[in-house]
């Protein structure tokens, strides 16, 4: 009931959308009615187009994000705890931070071609940044007395990194990953829109080019809902992992 109330603005928006379109206040091409979009969605699922393209996107997004978390998390923690790593990678991260990552789409295509690999690389490059920064700030906040406590109980330096620095970094690291998750959707769909033979972005582009706007809207909505669901799921996971802070 509470959730229903909370999302009631969305329901109002949906009803408004349907009305505006039905009453002919905007052209059906610019904004097809929600019911028409829903019908197109069912067709897309039945044809298998949505699923096959969705799986292609899911693979790219998942692989890219997983690599970004592994590389970015390790890099951020090492940068925070080991000065030479920070001296070498600090400026690189700083310079790379404000670059609009979509500008790298043609670059990654030149390097790795039109297939999966260029999209995965783009997502890794883009998503690494918030993960690295989160891990770095989190690891720097690791309290000296906790590190000393672990050392006095017999943990060596590497062990301390894993047992104390990583859990200390977790709250900020998990926030960085949340930003990366949203970024992964953006980079995935934009790169597929520009150059791809399949995926959500490709489907949106090709349906739009063919004037099949009902179906195009259906894919856009699907991506939006998937993004929303992924973020909610992630928040639940994050809450579980940080249960000790409540």
């Amino acid at each position: 009931m509470k959730a229903l109330l909370r999302y009631s603005p969305l329901l109002i928006l949906a009803i408004g959308w349907e009305l505006v379109s039905r009453l002919g206040l905007v052209s059906g091409d610019a904004l097809p009615s929600l019911t028409a979009v829903a019908a197109a969605w069912v067709d897309l699922v039945r044809d298998g187009d949505l699923v096959s393209n969705g799986l292609a996107s899911l693979y790219r997004g998942g692989a890219g994000l997983a690599l970004a978390i592994m590389i970015g998390g390790t890099l951020g923690i090492l940068m925070a705890r080991w000065k030479p790593v920070n001296v070498i990678f600090g400026p690189i991260v700083e310079i790379f931070y404000p670059v609009p990552k979509t500008a790298l789409i043609p670059v990654t295509v030149i390097w790795l071609g039109l297939g999966d690999r260029s999209k995965i690389l783009l997502i890794v490059l883009g998503c690494m940044i918030p993960v690295t920064i989160g891990a770095f700030n989190g690891a720097r906040s690791a309290e000296q007395v906790l590190i000393w406590s672990a050392r006095s109980m017999g943990a060596d330096r590497i062990r301390t990194l894993w047992d104390v620095v990583v859990p200390s970094a977790l709250p900020e690291l998990l926030n960085g990953i949340r930003t990366a998750l949203a970024l992964a959707f953006i980079l995935l769909v934009s790169s597929e829109l520009i150059t791809a033979q399949n995926g959500f972005g490709y489907l949106i582009g090709s349906l739009g080019d063919n004037g099949n706007y009902d179906a195009m809207y259906a894919v856009v909505l699907t991506v939006a809902l998937l993004g929303f669901a992924a973020d909610r799921l992630y928040q639940v996971l994050m809450h579980e992992m940080l249960i000790w802070r409540q």
Binding site: E143, V145, L146, W148, S149, A150, R151, S152, M153, G154, A155, R159, D163, V164, P167, L170, I243, W244, R245, Q246
Partner: protein, 261 residues
């Protein structure tokens, strides 16, 4: 031979920005096995620094520190430490915190569990095994921290103003408990405090430190009957507190930069 030998140690504190500060100069101290020594001095005199040096957390700049005849180079489980702000791992439960040291010692799982429970019971935290530190009061956190350190059985207990963050009532209870535990399982204790009464009540000897740069100014032997429930009012106790307080007062005034009265 003394168990802990601090020999003409000097330490300079180098802040990330600003001028280096000479924190300890020419500090020498010997502590015998199973002795309880309090390090007492005005704030900023380097008493905690000295404790961290013995713990092996900070590098010795000149002079030397040896424990059982071996020079101290790094932290080790022969020297357990209890900090003022508990330093419990916030992501581990009370039990998890206590188990951690035992895991690092490579103790078998069944024995670890048994031993952790024993120390949880010992410090009166039965029923709070699965609580996270954020759900405990200050006194309970310090009990958990004490249990964690006692559990892996260090020969030496380094305590850095462990009761300084507690309210007066809890502090007194904890002092009595610590004394009880120490009498049952004797360990060498170095206890940093700025509370004269606490030092006289707990320690066999009180090392009074001078204002910065810290040196050991005097070492006072304490001989009071701690089993006497009225010990705080006993003449021997009150006289000792007065005697030491007069020594500390001079240093505290110096530390504030005011002329000694």
């Amino acid at each position: 031979m003394a168990q802990i030998v601090v020999d003409r140690v000097r330490h300079t504190y180098r802040p990330p920005r600003g001028k280096p500060v000479l924190a300890l100069e020419d500090v020498s101290l010997e502590v015998r096995e199973r002795e309880f020594v309090a390090l007492l001095g005005p704030s900023g005199c380097g008493k905690s620094t000295l404790l961290y040096l013995i713990g092996g957390f900070l590098p010795v700049e000149s002079g030397g520190i040896a424990v059982d005849g071996k020079p101290v180079a790094a932290p080790g489980p022969d020297r357990g430490i209890v900090f003022q702000h508990f330093a419990l791992f916030p992501w581990k439960t009370v039990r998890g915190n206590i188990l951690y040291g035992l895991e690092r010692q490579g103790m078998a799982s069944a024995e670890r569990q048994k031993r952790a429970q024993h120390f949880i019971d010992l410090v009166g935290l039965t029923g709070f095994e699965d609580s996270f530190p954020s759900h405990l009061s200050g006194g309970m956190k310090q009990r958990a921290a004490l249990a964690r350190t006692l559990a892996f059985d260090p020969k030496i207990l380094l305590m850095d103003e462990p009761f300084g963050a507690l309210d007066a009532q809890t502090r007194h209870l904890m002092q009595t408990e610590l004394l009880g535990i120490w009498q049952r399982t004797p360990k060498t204790v170095i206890f940093v405090t700025h509370d004269v009464q606490e030092a006289v009540y707990l320690a066999d000897r009180v090392a009074v430190m001078s204002a910065r740069p810290g040196r050991i100014k005097t070492i006072v032997d304490i001989k009071v009957d701690k089993t006497d429930p009225g010990v705080f009012k006993a003449k021997a106790f009150v006289d000792k507190v007065d005697e030491i307080w007069n020594l500390v007062k001079v240093e505290a005034i110096k530390a504030q930069g005011a002329p000694a009265a």
